[in-house]
Symmetry: D2
């Protein structure tokens, strides 16, 4: 059906629910619709350097739709341009192994390479295409949903589901014990999960990297809720959230170390709230739980659509592109237009304004507005 005979596929960077569904869709549509073979490259780009591969048959991808993780494995030290080579004397050295990758690509008889990964992996893919002429197609992957160029990525809905599940549980404990409960969710640069989870889980306060907060606003919200007969609050915290002029609160060399030692921003916020008096606070860090598990149906569908379209682009020779979701259609956009950029929450976007209309406090409000937020 096409000059393309064999396609390679790899997964790079962190784990995300739906990776396996993309792999399955690539393999199934290559075989069924295009009569093309698929080589799975193991442990990310590293597998291309070290020639760790396996043939992927229809049987290999049977049952993958519901499985979390990636059967291809992935790796965080996955950059062939800075490959950690271990010399005979045991010393590790960073070398450019991209030529080896290119050579192996040819040796494997590949006509195209589908790279499923985040901004880092897609940047490497783009260099492969531009510098080495390796024909690549990208599939965007980020649980945080902060990748530029696509409305949503797979994994986000599943992470939201986990965060929402946790919030439902914390709510009943908060209510029974008259407590402030904090839930820390993923989002170092962008607060998408926190914002969506706050809306889905009935959060009272949402703290995101894009909106620096003041503790005064938080305390005002807790008091406003108490006055209206709800002496408990639920706070959703993105891991990248920070108070206004953040360095003042967590000042000093010690505090920087403390950040990592203390397991995240939520523990520090909890301590600060308690120190201001009047509230028992508990913090829960959802952590890696958000990355795992069976993808929710919408993520399975999005991942599948990405996989089918990536295969089609590869088979029809439309390289250098990344698949993306726009207005409920899957489209192709040049990888170079999307990498190195971040999709962050606009503090004035409709979703944030709606959240404020519901009384959700982001911590940058003047105190009068907070006082009115409980009716």
């Amino acid at each position: 059906m096409s000059a393309v005979r064999r396609i390679g596929v790899l997964t790079g960077g962190g784990d995300a629910p739906g990776l396996n569904a993309v792999i399955r869709a690539v393999v199934r549509s290559c075989k069924v619709a295009h009569g093309v073979s698929v080589t799975g490259i193991l442990d990310g780009f590293i597998g291309l350097v070290e020639m760790k591969v396996r043939e992927l048959s229809l049987a290999d991808v049977s049952g993958l739709l519901v499985r979390g993780g990636t059967v291809l494995g992935t790796s965080n030290r996955g950059n062939p341009f800075r490959y950690a080579f271990r010399r005979p004397d045991g010393v590790e050295e960073l070398v450019d192994a991209s030529a080896t990758a290119k050579k192996n690509f040819d040796k494997l008889g590949l006509d195209g390479l589908i790279v499923i990964g985040g901004d880092g992996s897609l940047s490497i893919a783009e260099r492969f295409w531009r510098e080495l002429g390796i024909p690549v197609v990208g599939v965007p992957k980020t649980i945080d949903n902060d990748l530029f160029g696509t409305e949503y990525t797979f994994g986000f809905a599943t992470a939201l589901d986990s965060a929402s599940w946790a919030l439902d549980r914390l709510h009943s404990t908060a209510e029974s014990h008259h407590r402030v409960m904090l839930l820390e969710v993923m989002g170092r640069e962008a607060g998408w999960i926190a914002l969506h989870a706050g809306l889905a889980g009935g959060g009272d306060v949402v703290l995101i990297p894009e909106i620096p907060f003041r503790f005064e606003a938080l305390m005002a919200k807790f008091r406003a809720r108490e006055r209206s007969g709800r002496p408990f609050s639920v706070v959703v915290v993105a891991e990248g959230a920070a108070p206004e002029g953040g360095t003042q609160v967590f000042a000093g060399e010690d505090a920087v170390t403390g950040w990592k030692r203390l397991g995240g921003i939520s523990t520090q916020i909890a301590r600060e709230i308690e120190s201001r008096g009047g509230y028992e606070v508990r913090a829960t860090v959802l952590g890696h739980i958000q990355r795992g598990g069976t993808p929710v149906p919408t993520d399975r569908i999005l991942a599948t659509r990405f996989g089918v379209e990536a295969a089609r682009l590869a088979v029809t020779g439309q390289f250098g592109n990344m698949v993306a979701l726009r207005s409920d259609e899957i489209v192709a956009v040049p990888i170079e237009d999307t990498i190195g950029r971040l999709k962050r929450v606009d503090p004035n976007c409709q979703l944030v304004r709606m959240a404020r209309s519901l009384g959700i406090v982001f911590g940058d409000e003047d105190l009068e507005a907070v006082d009115r937020s409980e009716g």
Copy 2:
């Protein structure tokens, strides 16, 4: 803040996960953002005729985000233009009670009415606005996702979740027993749930109203799977699916009765497949389970956004409009542009083409294509 002092809200037609989340969002944003009171009208439009109402406070809507159903109740005999009036002699008579509805609307001191409902309820809302001058704002509701003018409606993702949950369960039984398992899902006019569930749940065959099917194609698919070592199949059937020239298969007066008596299309399809030999078939009708339960997070968010925007439209006097989702934004569209039309699956749309690329059979393929669909 606005001349509007009091808004009414009602839910019409069938149950859908997220109704309570809309009500909560209407009440919270009316109170918090607009300083406006809300009157809940019970049991759909009927409550406006019979003056069954209750004040809705913030406390009344606390905890509603996660609850299925509607705390306002709903009714299927809810058309005030054809109100079932029971005369003193016990005989029921259909009368036009719209003037009573209008009188009660004024008596309640309402400045606007938010109608959450499907095509039928929105059509009544539109007549209220056009014929009676009752200022309405619509919120579209349909689990089937077949309402025109909005990309998605709340309830659909939850129904998809239930259908996908059921498919995951049927898969393991199909595989262990070498059977053909049918799952009948909602969708009388449009196959959205079946199509999405088929993609999310790894269905082998998807039967939808928009694509009449031939049993020969189904049997060919089952045989193709058997040949490739998978002697079991999972079929997703929309309740409105029908074979090509449907009347021939379910012909006669008897068959029409039979349809209802036999509990749906899937039972008949199951019988026909068994009669063609070689396969043990089991049909499950998911039924009302799809309408109930806690909404999934994405439905909670969509319902909340609809509710906030409906309240804003009502408070700012933008009547005659319905809220809608377009490109991930909530917008207002004239109700009259959306009613009486149906959003159906285009047999040539990207989603259907992708499904076919994966090997999913819709039953209208030529047999050679089916033979190739298992690689």
Copy 3:
């Protein structure tokens, strides 16, 4: 460690969540604790006759804990004493193939055979042991929980979870629409799932095979609920439930056929209730959904414990026994003491009495008691 070198394992009869967890536990404990090899026999007893087997390694059972179904496959035509032999002329003949089974058992070098199955499979296992001298250990399997000799079996808690999940969904629809919702669950001979689901899911009426019901009691319950302001009811029906003097209600040759044609008892009960007037009724048959899916944690644990103990019994030569749960311990009981008997719900047991105390109606109450059941 023991004279035993190799154990066979097979799964017989219907699918149940936890089968794979038993297989995994047998293989892991055989390898890790006893240094014994395991041969998997495919498609139930049939695999022993037709020599369809495969070696089971630790890698083969990795990930099985969470997977529904059985990787060994199962078969309903699985009795070697009445094996369906297909003659060269194509005619099927029932023959005694037990000698072949025995010969193959020896040929495979097996020192014991673990049979995971229901009453039918365990009866065959017992004949293997008594008549052919094949050393067997049984693992009881029945979703209905009606196997004699063990307090609970794996699969039951998962089926209960599914039934309870469905009831939660039907509840919100019942409440919003003022309807009577019926849920038909498994249980041909025993009402365990219906009874437990009724308690867990807040059912108003529970109909089980052990307690013949009268429609008058059902209607009285619906009216009592209506009087107390709850004009909706949820009814849980075991598939084996029947009215007092059942044949009168579903009389005649036609009705017997009708039973099967009409998809179960719940459809008939629904029709009867509607014909008695005043209530809109909807029936949902949960069906095979109860058999599939990831086992709930308690089923995974019970299945695992059964598997470990079955392996230990086999390795230490304690044949002819079945593992069983008693007072939270796994014990061994002679298979012959348990087969051919049924564990049914005692209408006077604590659980039924408690259900009645809560106002749950079983349909055999006098009407005054029913009237009082809503306080």
Copy 4:
């Protein structure tokens, strides 16, 4: 029906899934079966001292079966014998307010008091009965399942479900990233949740308070898994777990403070493993998520049975008793026989031995045994 006219009910101590189900069962069975009224006492024992109560009707408990938390509220400063009295000058003083509790009990016209709580609350209940003659019935509550006298308590199965849910998610991340993932679950004195979750979630290592562990055994397990091609491990840690001679590892004043500051044992274990080299480790503390949420069906049933039996004991004057589960029956045991004792995991019990048979390492094994645990 009985001389008893009115029963009080309160919930004490920490939150647990199923508290509301007990309350519902008490109210429903009191009303339906016994014609007895129920007074709800708010915020634990404190409500009896401060006379915070409310009448509980059938409508009040409708829908409670599925709701986490307790509608009665609870309190951690709930001991009437050491009541924190705030003097007019603002100073808090601990006073014996038990006489006030007794006076209020009489003033409310109560004939009995049902106390739902853990060891602390039940000890107070027992003093009420013995010292003050307040007729009490106890309902045991502990998520950790460490209460003496009952095989299981409600809440445990739901906590196990949450822990197992989290483990399923961590598994896929562990596998994709070749990591050691730690999950810290509840269990300060007893390792029941960790042990069960380890079995249900396929843990490789389980660390519980009853079995002090050595890091050497852990490292040996990780290496054994790596050798057998599984370069990732999942460790379940009870919050009360400790290494052999624990003080040596976390020595010094600083470390003691550190314990609390650092968010639990799992963080410290993670650091120690990483410092021993070769493994990337991630720790997740499940925390309060385990206390909240909708109870799983088996917990709903157990809680309901406890509630019905507690009501029956109160109505029939069998005071001084606690309800308990034994061999699947609900029985009454004297409260005094159960309090002040702890039900811990016996390191030689069947469950632990079975876990070891599967290759699960508890950390006290000799290294050879660990080496063999991966086959």
